[in-house]
Subunit: 108 residues, 2 copies
DNA sequence: CTTTCATTTTAATGATTCTTGAAATATTAC
DNA sequence: GTAATATTTCAAGAATCATTAAAATGAAAG
Protein backbone atom coordinates (compact mmCIF):
# COMPACT_ATOMS: atom_id res chain seq x y z
CA UNK A 1 0.00 0.00 0.00
CA UNK A 2 1.23 3.48 -0.83
CA UNK A 3 -0.07 7.00 -0.33
CA UNK A 4 -2.09 7.07 -3.54
CA UNK A 5 -3.77 3.76 -2.84
CA UNK A 6 -4.52 4.82 0.70
CA UNK A 7 -6.16 8.01 -0.54
CA UNK A 8 -8.40 5.99 -2.83
CA UNK A 9 -9.30 3.70 0.07
CA UNK A 10 -10.11 6.62 2.38
CA UNK A 11 -12.25 8.18 -0.34
CA UNK A 12 -14.00 4.86 -0.87
CA UNK A 13 -14.96 4.70 2.80
CA UNK A 14 -15.95 8.36 3.11
CA UNK A 15 -19.44 7.94 1.68
CA UNK A 16 -22.34 6.52 3.73
CA UNK A 17 -23.63 4.22 1.06
CA UNK A 18 -20.18 2.86 0.37
CA UNK A 19 -19.29 2.44 4.03
CA UNK A 20 -22.51 0.47 4.52
CA UNK A 21 -21.82 -1.68 1.49
CA UNK A 22 -18.33 -2.31 2.82
CA UNK A 23 -19.67 -3.36 6.21
CA UNK A 24 -22.22 -5.55 4.49
CA UNK A 25 -19.57 -7.32 2.44
CA UNK A 26 -17.26 -7.79 5.41
CA UNK A 27 -20.09 -9.43 7.27
CA UNK A 28 -20.93 -11.57 4.28
CA UNK A 29 -17.47 -13.11 4.65
CA UNK A 30 -15.21 -14.58 2.01
CA UNK A 31 -18.08 -15.92 -0.10
CA UNK A 32 -19.32 -12.43 -0.77
CA UNK A 33 -22.70 -11.31 -1.98
CA UNK A 34 -24.19 -10.57 -5.36
CA UNK A 35 -24.80 -7.00 -6.50
CA UNK A 36 -28.56 -7.19 -6.17
CA UNK A 37 -28.46 -8.42 -2.60
CA UNK A 38 -25.93 -5.75 -1.70
CA UNK A 39 -28.17 -3.08 -3.20
CA UNK A 40 -31.18 -4.39 -1.31
CA UNK A 41 -29.13 -4.75 1.85
CA UNK A 42 -28.23 -1.07 1.95
CA UNK A 43 -31.45 0.21 0.41
CA UNK A 44 -29.97 1.59 -2.78
CA UNK A 45 -31.13 1.31 -6.37
CA UNK A 46 -29.22 -1.22 -8.49
CA UNK A 47 -27.63 1.58 -10.49
CA UNK A 48 -26.59 3.49 -7.41
CA UNK A 49 -25.17 0.38 -5.75
CA UNK A 50 -23.29 -0.47 -8.92
CA UNK A 51 -21.76 3.00 -8.98
CA UNK A 52 -20.54 2.68 -5.41
CA UNK A 53 -19.43 -0.93 -5.81
CA UNK A 54 -17.27 0.23 -8.70
CA UNK A 55 -15.60 2.82 -6.47
CA UNK A 56 -14.99 0.21 -3.76
CA UNK A 57 -13.59 -2.20 -6.32
CA UNK A 58 -11.27 0.46 -7.66
CA UNK A 59 -9.95 0.89 -4.13
CA UNK A 60 -9.15 -2.83 -3.96
CA UNK A 61 -10.92 -3.13 -0.63
CA UNK A 62 -13.49 -5.17 -2.54
CA UNK A 63 -13.26 -7.44 -5.54
CA UNK A 64 -15.81 -8.79 -7.98
CA UNK A 65 -16.30 -11.85 -10.11
CA UNK A 66 -18.98 -12.98 -12.48
CA UNK A 67 -20.91 -16.09 -11.53
CA UNK A 68 -23.63 -17.17 -13.92
CA UNK A 69 -25.76 -14.14 -14.51
CA UNK A 70 -24.93 -12.38 -11.30
CA UNK A 71 -21.75 -10.73 -10.13
CA UNK A 72 -20.40 -11.49 -6.72
CA UNK A 73 -18.64 -8.87 -4.65
CA UNK A 74 -16.29 -9.80 -1.84
CA UNK A 75 -14.41 -7.92 0.86
CA UNK A 76 -10.69 -8.25 0.18
CA UNK A 77 -9.52 -8.96 3.69
CA UNK A 78 -5.83 -8.98 2.83
CA UNK A 79 -6.01 -5.57 1.25
CA UNK A 80 -8.09 -4.25 4.10
CA UNK A 81 -5.36 -5.45 6.45
CA UNK A 82 -2.69 -3.81 4.34
CA UNK A 83 -4.66 -0.60 4.46
CA UNK A 84 -4.93 -0.49 8.26
CA UNK A 85 -1.30 -1.45 8.49
CA UNK A 86 -0.32 1.41 6.19
CA UNK A 87 -2.38 3.83 8.21
CA UNK A 88 -0.86 2.71 11.49
CA UNK A 89 2.73 2.55 10.31
CA UNK A 90 3.00 5.33 7.80
CA UNK A 91 0.33 7.85 8.75
CA UNK A 92 0.39 7.27 12.49
CA UNK A 93 4.15 6.74 12.66
CA UNK A 94 3.57 3.52 14.57
CA UNK A 95 2.27 5.40 17.56
CA UNK A 96 1.97 2.95 20.45
CA UNK A 97 -1.16 4.54 21.89
CA UNK A 98 -3.00 4.23 18.63
CA UNK A 99 -1.74 0.70 18.15
CA UNK A 100 -3.03 -0.21 21.60
CA UNK A 101 -6.56 0.52 20.39
CA UNK A 102 -6.31 -2.35 17.94
CA UNK A 103 -5.94 -5.16 20.41
CA UNK A 104 -9.16 -6.82 21.44
CA UNK A 105 -10.32 -6.12 24.97
CA UNK A 106 -7.98 -3.14 24.91
CA UNK A 107 -8.29 -0.08 27.08
CA UNK A 108 -9.50 2.39 24.43
CA UNK B 1 -17.01 6.99 17.60
CA UNK B 2 -20.10 6.39 15.48
CA UNK B 3 -20.81 6.05 11.78
CA UNK B 4 -21.21 9.76 11.14
CA UNK B 5 -17.99 10.66 12.90
CA UNK B 6 -16.15 7.91 11.07
CA UNK B 7 -17.39 9.24 7.74
CA UNK B 8 -16.07 12.68 8.59
CA UNK B 9 -12.73 11.15 9.56
CA UNK B 10 -12.49 9.13 6.35
CA UNK B 11 -13.32 12.22 4.33
CA UNK B 12 -10.71 14.19 6.24
CA UNK B 13 -8.05 11.67 5.28
CA UNK B 14 -9.14 11.29 1.68
CA UNK B 15 -7.34 14.36 0.37
CA UNK B 16 -3.59 14.44 -0.28
CA UNK B 17 -2.93 17.74 1.35
CA UNK B 18 -4.89 16.76 4.41
CA UNK B 19 -3.32 13.33 4.68
CA UNK B 20 0.11 14.94 4.54
CA UNK B 21 -0.82 17.49 7.17
CA UNK B 22 -2.11 14.66 9.32
CA UNK B 23 1.12 12.73 8.98
CA UNK B 24 3.06 15.89 9.72
CA UNK B 25 1.14 16.52 12.91
CA UNK B 26 1.41 12.93 14.07
CA UNK B 27 5.16 13.15 13.63
CA UNK B 28 5.25 16.47 15.44
CA UNK B 29 3.94 14.63 18.49
CA UNK B 30 1.79 15.91 21.35
CA UNK B 31 3.28 19.40 21.27
CA UNK B 32 1.95 19.98 17.81
CA UNK B 33 2.97 22.57 15.27
CA UNK B 34 1.79 26.03 14.37
CA UNK B 35 -0.26 26.66 11.26
CA UNK B 36 2.52 28.39 9.37
CA UNK B 37 4.98 25.57 9.90
CA UNK B 38 2.38 23.03 8.86
CA UNK B 39 1.69 25.00 5.70
CA UNK B 40 5.39 25.21 4.90
CA UNK B 41 5.87 21.56 5.80
CA UNK B 42 3.40 20.37 3.19
CA UNK B 43 4.06 23.10 0.65
CA UNK B 44 0.66 24.74 0.77
CA UNK B 45 -0.33 28.40 0.97
CA UNK B 46 -1.42 29.62 4.43
CA UNK B 47 -4.99 29.93 3.25
CA UNK B 48 -5.04 26.50 1.72
CA UNK B 49 -3.49 24.93 4.81
CA UNK B 50 -5.98 26.73 7.00
CA UNK B 51 -8.85 25.37 4.94
CA UNK B 52 -7.62 21.81 5.29
CA UNK B 53 -6.67 22.19 8.93
CA UNK B 54 -10.24 23.26 9.57
CA UNK B 55 -11.53 20.05 7.96
CA UNK B 56 -9.15 17.96 10.03
CA UNK B 57 -10.17 19.78 13.18
CA UNK B 58 -13.83 19.20 12.42
CA UNK B 59 -13.04 15.49 12.21
CA UNK B 60 -11.55 15.60 15.72
CA UNK B 61 -8.44 13.80 14.49
CA UNK B 62 -6.68 17.10 15.12
CA UNK B 63 -7.23 19.89 17.62
CA UNK B 64 -6.12 23.50 17.75
CA UNK B 65 -5.30 26.08 20.39
CA UNK B 66 -4.20 29.66 20.25
CA UNK B 67 -0.78 30.44 21.66
CA UNK B 68 0.28 34.03 21.50
CA UNK B 69 -0.19 35.11 17.92
CA UNK B 70 0.07 31.70 16.40
CA UNK B 71 -2.29 28.74 16.53
CA UNK B 72 -0.99 25.33 17.36
CA UNK B 73 -2.43 22.20 15.79
CA UNK B 74 -2.02 18.81 17.38
CA UNK B 75 -2.82 15.24 16.40
CA UNK B 76 -5.48 13.91 18.75
CA UNK B 77 -4.04 10.51 19.44
CA UNK B 78 -6.93 9.30 21.55
CA UNK B 79 -9.44 10.10 18.85
CA UNK B 80 -7.22 8.58 16.20
CA UNK B 81 -7.17 5.41 18.29
CA UNK B 82 -10.94 5.47 18.67
CA UNK B 83 -11.24 5.83 14.93
CA UNK B 84 -9.11 2.77 14.11
CA UNK B 85 -10.90 0.86 16.81
CA UNK B 86 -14.26 1.75 15.31
CA UNK B 87 -13.09 0.71 11.89
CA UNK B 88 -11.77 -2.62 13.11
CA UNK B 89 -14.70 -3.48 15.34
CA UNK B 90 -17.67 -2.03 13.55
CA UNK B 91 -16.69 -1.87 9.89
CA UNK B 92 -14.46 -4.92 9.82
CA UNK B 93 -16.58 -6.95 12.24
CA UNK B 94 -13.50 -7.64 14.32
CA UNK B 95 -12.04 -9.79 11.61
CA UNK B 96 -9.02 -11.59 13.03
CA UNK B 97 -6.99 -11.44 9.83
CA UNK B 98 -7.34 -7.69 9.60
CA UNK B 99 -6.61 -7.32 13.28
CA UNK B 100 -3.43 -9.35 12.82
CA UNK B 101 -2.10 -6.63 10.53
CA UNK B 102 -2.07 -4.19 13.43
CA UNK B 103 0.45 -5.92 15.61
CA UNK B 104 4.04 -4.81 15.14
CA UNK B 105 6.29 -7.27 13.37
CA UNK B 106 3.14 -8.93 12.11
CA UNK B 107 2.92 -11.15 9.07
CA UNK B 108 1.02 -8.75 6.78
C1' DC C 1 -2.36 53.64 18.80
C1' DT C 2 -0.23 52.15 14.74
C1' DT C 3 2.29 48.65 12.52
C1' DT C 4 3.48 44.06 11.85
C1' DC C 5 2.85 39.23 11.81
C1' DA C 6 0.04 34.85 11.82
C1' DT C 7 -3.97 33.06 10.57
C1' DT C 8 -8.71 32.83 8.93
C1' DT C 9 -12.49 34.19 6.07
C1' DT C 10 -14.62 35.34 1.85
C1' DA C 11 -15.84 35.22 -2.90
C1' DA C 12 -15.26 33.54 -7.36
C1' DT C 13 -14.20 29.76 -10.19
C1' DG C 14 -13.32 25.22 -11.69
C1' DA C 15 -13.42 20.38 -10.78
C1' DT C 16 -15.38 16.17 -8.69
C1' DT C 17 -18.83 13.55 -7.02
C1' DC C 18 -23.59 11.83 -6.31
C1' DT C 19 -28.23 10.77 -7.74
C1' DT C 20 -31.86 9.42 -10.89
C1' DG C 21 -33.98 7.17 -14.50
C1' DA C 22 -33.53 5.32 -19.02
C1' DA C 23 -31.09 2.60 -22.16
C1' DA C 24 -27.58 -0.89 -23.05
C1' DT C 25 -25.26 -5.33 -22.20
C1' DA C 26 -24.92 -9.96 -21.01
C1' DT C 27 -26.51 -14.33 -19.30
C1' DT C 28 -29.80 -17.87 -18.70
C1' DA C 29 -34.42 -20.05 -19.54
C1' DC C 30 -38.20 -21.13 -22.39
C1' DG D 1 -34.72 -16.91 -31.30
C1' DT D 2 -37.42 -14.51 -27.68
C1' DA D 3 -38.25 -13.41 -23.07
C1' DA D 4 -36.72 -12.65 -18.49
C1' DT D 5 -33.25 -11.46 -15.09
C1' DA D 6 -29.00 -9.16 -13.30
C1' DT D 7 -26.05 -5.65 -13.71
C1' DT D 8 -23.76 -1.75 -15.80
C1' DT D 9 -23.44 2.42 -18.51
C1' DC D 10 -24.98 6.83 -19.84
C1' DA D 11 -26.63 11.57 -19.63
C1' DA D 12 -28.30 15.45 -17.09
C1' DG D 13 -28.56 18.02 -13.12
C1' DA D 14 -27.68 19.02 -8.22
C1' DA D 15 -24.49 19.15 -4.69
C1' DT D 16 -20.13 19.25 -2.66
C1' DC D 17 -15.25 20.25 -2.60
C1' DA D 18 -10.73 22.52 -3.70
C1' DT D 19 -7.92 26.40 -5.20
C1' DT D 20 -6.73 31.17 -5.63
C1' DA D 21 -6.03 35.81 -4.31
C1' DA D 22 -7.70 39.48 -1.66
C1' DA D 23 -9.66 41.25 2.43
C1' DA D 24 -10.54 40.75 7.38
C1' DT D 25 -9.40 39.47 12.12
C1' DG D 26 -6.73 39.40 16.05
C1' DA D 27 -2.65 39.42 18.93
C1' DA D 28 1.76 41.52 20.06
C1' DA D 29 5.55 44.93 19.54
C1' DG D 30 7.29 49.33 18.97
Amino acid sequence: MNETEALVAFAALSNVTRLRIFRDLVRAGPNGRNAGDVAAGVGASPSRASFHLAALTKSKLVSSSQSAREVIYRAEFDNIGAFVQYFLEDCCANDAGVRACCVGGGKC
